[in-house]
Structure formats: structure tokens, C-alpha cells
């Protein structure tokens, strides 16, 4: 139960714990006043005081027993593993906070380079008392020699501020150490120990290793007093020192001293894990000799290897920054420090009035080239000048920034004549000589002829003008960010028409119906164009006319003939006007009619023809019979 309550209390947040302490303290105070104040102020029966004391114990004891004794105030301590060290040996600083979580401010440590090693928490129950201790560890690398101080550190815990005690560390010079004996070591150097203010120098950090390492982590120096840029190209190569082969990994920083005087680049610190081979190394199937680092033999997870943390530190590097000498010259100082050259070029040496010529001025060299500006140009009178944005081709390499910056100007003469453009003078600080140096471009001349516009009307061509000006087009960049405005068309408050699935399907089916209609229509039309149908219609029409006509009229028998012949042709599927009875019989037989029908038709045709031409059909009955037979036959054939 007690342990449970302890855990419960310690599980609470710091603020809750603080409140809990206050409540318990309050209860104890009230109990004390209730039971003893009366006894202390009056001279009542001592037995009553004894009862009060027993009652107090009965109430207070459970509280004391249930709630574990708290650490009423956090205790903060700082200690080191040694207070005498060498400049190469780091010191372990531990700050312990008992009770609650806390933050340690290590910014006040100036004499050491500090690397945090993390924190650990320790909870113990000793004699029923629960202790909780948080330890924060730091690795301190001395930045000097002699008596160095770890100042009083500020620790904030549970809303309160605590101070640790000051610690003095005695740092002696490091005994000569032969790096060549080491498997792994680091070195730092700079390309120029006595640079001028503003001169770019290169800081090299080199890791020499003859063994394999892992988890390498470099903490670069702060480079106080310099502007620092990391050179992106990291190098890895092999070298031999005192007969021993090393792999070298090199990281470089481009530094520019910002002020004159003696500056110290603090040590760079590299932490890594050395991969050590175990005694009982198991030979891998793939690596029977155990020397190939790509197989499991050297792998820290699969092989019999161990990791050993190693912390390496470079020596501090002193830089004596020289101020720039006083400047007195009629050419203004460009502010460039390094090694530079300047040249200029005129694209066209002969132009006409109103045309433009491109004058390009290029500053090239090594140093702070990006700060270059166009030197003053004294053009003769009568020129209009249009400046373009300069082009930069600047890179960072072993010698620092290098490259060129080209300024372009479009110059437009307004008068004809021959003009001389004076050389451009440019002054920079030459680091190789330690003096200011003035360089200049060569003289340029420009012959300007009369404008063609006076005699010839010239059509303006945009492309040609652009070519002549030789302005390099640049990508348009955003100079500000905002959104485009509202849509103010009142039509947007109406529902936007959107095709529903049903409408979509209908839209898809409309052309299908159209196609089917056309197809159907043509099919119908085709039927009427059929010779068989046409001849059948003709036969029918002839019969109808014959029926309406007087049977003794001249055309009656002709119509019967026409009706019968058309019916026969209809059966054949061809068009025609006349037939002999023999042909008619053949056609009908050929087209699948029975012999009887074919004979009937042939006989009837014979009768009609003889009636028409021989005059035998003049009797009424005969004509009526012929009509009836023709009608019957035509109906049966159609």
C-alpha cells in the first residue's frame, strides 16, 4: 500500500506534487493547532493533554506512514571526475538533481568546449524512503591551460532556481604524443595563418584512420570572429605517415575574418565508435580470411565485433588577422580582397546613331568576387546608357570563392562621330603582395555613323532589336505573395450546371438513336426502290386503271397486258415492258413458280395478245373473264 501510494505520488506531475505537499503540510499544521494549542495555553488536566497527544498520533501517524517522506526541496549538485587534467584530456561533469526534473544552463561555461552526453534517472527506495535522482552528464574539453573554471551553473527545477558550486580545474600541457602510434587521430589547419581582414582562408579538418569506425559525429568549432561557409566537396583519400597507411576524410570550411587581431578557432570535436574485432572471431562462409570489410566478418551486428567510443579533438588554431593598410588613391577601393583582373569588350565597334552597342565589363578572379560592383564609367557626352543585371559565375573551391561577374550595358549614341571609351580602373587589395593594386581595361573606340532612318524607312523587328541589345532574358521571379481577387460576377450565385449520370447517358444515346433512324429510313427507302416492288406497283396500278375503264375502250386490253407483264417482271425482280408468253412461262418457272401458274400466265398472256391484235376479244364476257383472270393471277404473283 505504501509503495503504491509512493508510486502514485511520484507518478504525479511536479505541479500536482507541489500541491500535494502543501495540502499535507496544511493538514499537519491544523492537527497540531487543534490538539496542542489548547493544552499549551491553558492549565487544564495534563491527562487531557496526553489524550490530545494520543489523538494527534492516531490521525497524523497514518498520514506519515501512508505518504512517503518527500524531498521537500530539490537538491542540486555538480561534480567532475577529476580536477587535474591535460589540455587533451576531457573532464566529465555531472549535474545531479534530486527530486524533480530540471534544466541546466551550461551557457556560462566559457573555458571549455561542452558536449552533452545525455541524462539518466535513478529511483531508489532506501529504508522506506523513495529517492529520485536525475543526472546530466557533459564532456568538457579545456580551451586553455592553467586554472580553468566551471562557473556556478543555474538549474531550474520545479519552478525554482538553484545554483551549483563553482569548480576549478587545473589544466597542464599535454605531453608530446606521437600520433603515428594511433589508429585514429584528427588534425585541423588553415590555409593562411596571417590573413588580412576580409581575406578568405580555408579551415581543414582531417580525420586519419587506419581502422574502421562508425557513428562518426563532428562538432565543428564556432568560428567566432569569422564568417564560415562549409565547402560542400568532402574529400577522402589515402596517405602514409611514418610508414603507416591512413585513410583521410577531410572537411573544409571557407572562413573570412571579420575583424583584425588574434583570433582563436576553438577545437573541433569528433566522436565515433571504433570497431574492434573480438578474440574469437567467427569466420564467415563468404569471408574465410576475415579481412573483407564488406562481408559479415566485420559487421558489428553479424560478426564478433565490439564498439568502443572514441572522442577526438583537434588543437585550437590561432589566426593572426592583419588589418588592411591605409588606402590613399584617386581610384576608389572596390572592397575586393584577393586576386582579380578586369577586362571590357564592345560588341560592335561601328554602329549607327540610335542603335545600341553592348559594352560588357568582366571582373574575374579569386576572393570576394560576389561583392564586385561596376567601376565608374566615363562615357563621352551624347550617349544613353541602359544597365542590365550582372551575370555571375561564382563557385567555391579549394582556394575559396572564385569565378567572374559580368556587367552589361547597352549604350546608345545620339550623335554621329568617333568616340573613345576611356579605360575602366578598378582597385582591389592584392593578398599576394599585401598592397592595393589598380588594374584597368584597355581603351575602346566606337564609330557612330548616320542613322538609316533619314533615307530608308526601316521596319522595326523585335527579334533583331533584342539581338542587338544582347540582354539575357531572365526568369521572372515573384517579388511578393498574395492571392488573386474575388470573382465579382453576380452569375456565380446561380447553380453551376453539371451533367448528371442520367443526362450523360442520354447525351451518349442521342447519336445512337439518330443513327438507327437514318438506318431505318434508308432501309425503307431502299424497299421502294426495289425493281420487284416497282413492277408490282405498276401491275397493281394498271389493274386499277383497267377496272375503272370501260371494258370496250381501246386501252383496256393493253392495261391487262401491262398488269400481267409487270407482275411477271416483279416476280423476276427486274424491270421491263414487254414479254412473249414463252418468255413469261420461262421466267416464272425460273423464279420458283409452279408449272401450273407459269402455264396459266402464259395462256392468259397469249389470250390477251390475241384479243389485242386479232380482234377476237370483242365480247363482253370474254373481256370480263380476261380481267378477272388477270386480276387473280397478278394477285397471286405479287
Amino acid at each position: 500500500m505504501k509503495l503504491f501510494m509512493s508510486m502514485l505520488i511520484y507518478g504525479l506531475s511536479a505541479r500536482s506534487l507541489c500541491y500535494a505537499k502543501k495540502i499535507i503540510f496544511g493538514i499537519l499544521t491544523i492537527c497540531f493547532r487543534l490538539f496542542f494549542s489548547h493544552a499549551l495555553t491553558s492549565n487544564e488536566n495534563p491527562r487531557k493533554s496526553t489524550y490530545s497527544f494520543i489523538a494527534f498520533l492516531l490521525i497524523v501517524l497514518p498520514i506519515v506512514l501512508i505518504f512517503p517522506p518527500f524531498t521537500w526541496a530539490a537538491e542540486v549538485r555538480a561534480f567532475v571526475d577529476k580536477n587535474q587534467t591535460t589540455s587533451e584530456q576531457p573532464v566529465n561533469l555531472t549535474v545531479t538533481i534530486s527530486g524533480e526534473e530540471g534544466d541546466v544552463d551550461i551557457s556560462s561555461i566559457k573555458d571549455f568546449n561542452v558536449i552533452s552526453r545525455g541524462k539518466s534517472t535513478n529511483v531508489q527506495i532506501i529504508n522506506g524512503r523513495l529517492f529520485r535522482q536525475i543526472s546530466r552528464s557533459y564532456l568538457l574539453f579545456p580551451l586553455g591551460e592553467g586554472e580553468l573554471t566551471i562557473p556556478s551553473l543555474t538549474v531550474v527545477s520545479g519552478g525554482k532556481t538553484y545554483q551549483t558550486k563553482e569548480i576549478i580545474i587545473y589544466v597542464s600541457k599535454e605531453a608530446k604524443h606521437h600520433e603515428s602510434n594511433d589508429d585514429i587521430f584528427v588534425r585541423a589547419n588553415i590555409s593562411e595563418k596571417n590573413p588580412y581582414e576580409g581575406q578568405q582562408i580555408i579551415y581543414h579538418f582531417k580525420l586519419y584512420r587506419s581502422i574502421r569506425i562508425t557513428n562518426a559525429n563532428l562538432k565543428r568549432p564556432e568560428f567566432d570572429g569569422f564568417s564560415a561557409t562549409e565547402v560542400k566537396d568532402k574529400k577522402s583519400y589515402s596517405t602514409v605517415i611514418s610508414g603507416r597507411a591512413y585513410n583521410v576524410d577531410e572537411v573544409s570550411y571557407l572562413l573570412v575574418p571579420l575583424k583584425p587581431g588574434e583570433l582563436v578557432i576553438k577545437p573541433a570535436v569528433l566522436s565515433c565508435d571504433k570497431i574492434l574485432r573480438g578474440q574469437n572471431k567467427r569466420r564467415s562462409f563468404f569471408d574465410p580470411f576475415g579481412d573483407d570489410p564488406f562481408f559479415f566478418g566485420d559487421d558489428p551486428f553479424f560478426g564478433q565485433t565490439k564498439l568502443k567510443t572514441k572522442i577526438l579533438r583537434t588543437c585550437p588554431v590561432k589566426v593572426n588577422v592583419r588589418p588592411l593598410p591605409d588606402y590613399s588613391n584617386d581610384v576608389p577601393f572596390s572592397g575586393l580582397i584577393g586576386k582579380f583582373n578586369i577586362y571590357s569588350k564592345l560588341e560592335d565597334e561601328k554602329i549607327k546613331t540610335g542603335d545600341s552597342a553592348t559594352l560588357s565589363v568582366t571582373v574575374e578572379g579569386t576572393g570576394n568576387i560576389m561583392d564586385a560592383s561596376l567601376p565608374e564609367i566615363n562615357l563621352p557626352e551624347g550617349f544613353k546608357v541602359y544597365r542590365d543585371n550582372p551575370d555571375e559565375d561564382i563557385r567555391i573551391g579549394e582556394q575559396g570563392y572564385f569565378g567572374k561577374k559580368t556587367f552589361r550595358l547597352a549604350i546608345v549614341p545620339v550623335k554621329e562621330g568617333t568616340y573613345k571609351i576611356e579605360p575602366l580602373r578598378f582597385c582591389y587589395f592584392d593578398i599576394s603582395t599585401g598592397k592595393y593594386k589598380t588594374v584597368s581595361t584597355g581603351p575602346l573606340s566606337l564609330a557612330v555613323g548616320p542613322s538609316q532612318e533619314k533615307s530608308v524607312f526601316k521596319v522595326f523587328k523585335a527579334e533583331t532589336a533584342e539581338k542587338e541589345l544582347n540582354f539575357k532574358k531572365k526568369k521572372v521571379e515573384f517579388t511578393g505573395h498574395d492571392i488573386l481577387p474575388l470573382k465579382e460576377d453576380p452569375g456565380i450565385i446561380k447553380n453551376q450546371k453539371d451533367l448528371s449520370l442520367r443526362s450523360y447517358v442520354i447525351f451518349l444515346l442521342i447519336p445512337v438513336f439518330f443513327y438507327l433512324m437514318v438506318k431505318g429510313g434508308t432501309a425503307l427507302t431502299k424497299k421502294y426502290d426495289d425493281p420487284s416492288s416497282l413492277m408490282a406497283q405498276k401491275a397493281d396500278k394498271a389493274l386499277k386503271r383497267a377496272q375503272k375503264m370501260d371494258i370496250f375502250s381501246d386501252g383496256f386490253l393493253s392495261l391487262l397486258y401491262k398488269a400481267l407483264v409487270s407482275a411477271v417482271f416483279s416476280k423476276a425482280g427486274t424491270k421491263g415492258e414487254s414479254l412473249t408468253y414463252v418468255e413469261a412461262e420461262k421466267i416464272l418457272r425460273f423464279n420458283g413458280c409452279s408449272d401450273e401458274t407459269a402455264k396459266q400466265a402464259a395462256e392468259l398472256l397469249k389470250k390477251i395478245e390475241s384479243a389485242r391484235y386479232s380482234g377476237t376479244g370483242s365480247e363482253t364476257d370474254m373481256r370480263k373473264r380476261l380481267f378477272a383472270e388477270t386480276k387473280k393471277l397478278v394477285r397471286s404473283l405479287s
Binding site: H481, D482, I483, L484, P485, L486, K487, E488, D489, P490, G491, I492, I493, K494, N495, Q496, D498, L499, L501, Y504, F507, L508, I510, P511, V512, F514, Y515, V518, K519, T522
Partner: protein, 260 residues
């Protein structure tokens, strides 16, 4: 006496009816909503930098059931100017569904999206579907629909011409157009299905904990921020199961996201 009583009751009924009529008249007047006025007020509020007022006025029109990309765009603008990135992206996305080729909308949506804190994993796979059916996203749903309709009409027109004139060129053309029209019609149908079955949402709250389960006690898996677009995979109780990127799936409360 009876006549007097009847007269009194008639008078009462008349007064009650009059009052009722006046009440309904008042209600009708009070409830009348003029979308034109709300729109003009919204535009005016926006110009006077009263963005909350603009949001209120534009929202009134939207709440009346008006579905218009331009109106949604205006709402997006008002929300963005009011500092509510989540709602701004939501309305821009809704507008984008209706007018995917509007240049102003594209510009503003791109700008709003640039303000969104959550970045998708760069190495996330480009699905083969997106490569094969590139026109789906390139043209937008409306354009795909109409292209399908036009190609379908063209196909049947060629067939109709073929009834009268049979030429080989018509046959080749009809097959090509048929293939294209089927492609676009199927894409349009897929878009319809996608609209119904695949829901997307935008995170509205400034910071949303995506959890492993349907309760506040569930483990927080990752955090998303306002304006981030997610896919809604499932709805359960008061929660959405969302998919952000490969491996980033979890549950969020419904009120923390808005369905596009």
C-alpha cells in the same frame, strides 16, 4: 344576448386571424433571403477587409444550396485572408472539382497549398494508374465528360455517313474514334464512381492528432496540420479513418476535417 355573444366571438376570431396574418407576414419578411444582396455584401466586406463578414455572407448563399465554383472560390479567398488555411483549402478544392481549368483558382490553390505545413514523402510512388490515365487529372472531370460525348457523337456520325458512302477511310476513322470515345466514356464513368465512393477531406484544425483507434486515449501516431489533403477510407461513429501517405493511416474526429 345571443346575437351580442355571436358578434363578440366573431370579433375575437377576426382579431386572431388578423394577428395571425400579420405574424405570418412578418415571418415571411423576416425570413426572406436575397442572395444578390448577400453576395454584394460579401464582396463589400471582403474589400473592406472584414473577412469574417464576407465568410458569413458567402456561406449564407452556399447554405441555400447554391453550387458554384466561383462562389466556392470566393469563400476560399475569404477564409485564406481570415487566416483559416484549412477552410480555405477545403473551399478551393471544392471549387476545383467544379472548374478545374480556372487560372485564378489554380493560382490561389497553389499558393494556399504552399502554406500547408505537411509535406508528403518525396519518394512516394507515382501510381501506374496516374501515368496510364494521365488525361483524367490533366483535363478535369467536366472536360472528360464532354470529350466522351463529342467522340461518341462523332463515331455514330461516321457510321451514319458509312450508310451512304462506304469508304475504307471511314472504317479506319470510326475504329479510332470508337477506341478514344470508349476510353473517355469509361474515364467519365470512373470519375462519377470516384465522386461517390472515394472521398477526400481537408484537415481543418491547426493541429490534428491522428490516432490508432476511435478514442482520445488511443496512441497518437502522427500529427497533421490545417490544409492537408487526406483520403477518407472509412467512417465509423464520430471518426474518419484517413490515409495521408504510404504507411501514414489513422483515425481523426469528423469535426477535424471537411469532406471535399
Amino acid at each position: 344576448m345571443i346575437n351580442l355573444k355571436q358578434a363578440a366571438s366573431c370579433k375575437m376570431i377576426f382579431i386572431i386571424l388578423l394577428l395571425l396574418w400579420l405574424f405570418f407576414l412578418w415571418r415571411t419578411d423576416a425570413g426572406a433571403f436575397d442572395p444578390d444582396k448577400a453576395f454584394l455584401d460579401g464582396v463589400k466586406d471582403y474589400k473592406e477587409e472584414n473577412f469574417a463578414g464576407a465568410i458569413a455572407n458567402f456561406s449564407k448563399i452556399v447554405n441555400k444550396g447554391v453550387k458554384n465554383g466561383g462562389l466556392y472560390y470566393n469563400l476560399g479567398n475569404a477564409y485564406l485572408k481570415n487566416g483559416d488555411l484549412g477552410h480555405a483549402v477545403l473551399w478551393y478544392e471544392r471549387a476545383f472539382n467544379l472548374m478545374p481549368n480556372d487560372p485564378n483558382l489554380k493560382f490561389n490553390l497553389k499558393y494556399a497549398s504552399s502554406l500547408v505545413k505537411d509535406k508528403r514523402d518525396e519518394n512516394e510512388k507515382t501510381y501506374i494508374f496516374q501515368i496510364l490515365f494521365f488525361w483524367k487529372d490533366f483535363l478535369g472531370t467536366v472536360a472528360v465528360k464532354w470529350t466522351g460525348i463529342i467522340l461518341n457523337a462523332l463515331f455514330w456520325l461516321i457510321l451514319t455517313v458509312q450508310i451512304f458512302k462506304r469508304k475504307k477511310i471511314f472504317k479506319t476513322a470510326s475504329i479510332s474514334v470508337l477506341v478514344l470515345s470508349i476510353l473517355f466514356i469509361l474515364t467519365a464513368l470512373y470519375n462519377c464512381c470516384e465522386k461517390v465512393y472515394i472521398k477526400q477531406a481537408v484537415i481543418l484544425s491547426s493541429s490534428v492528432s491522428v490516432r490508432s483507434g476511435l478514442s482520445d486515449d488511443s496512441t497518437q501516431l502522427f500529427i497533421l496540420h490545417s490544409g492537408t489533403k487526406v483520403k477518407v477510407e472509412k467512417e465509423k461513429e464520430n471518426y474518419f479513418k484517413i490515409y495521408f501517405s504510404e504507411g501514414k493511416i489513422g483515425w481523426i474526429k469528423k469535426n477535424e476535417a471537411g469532406i471535399i
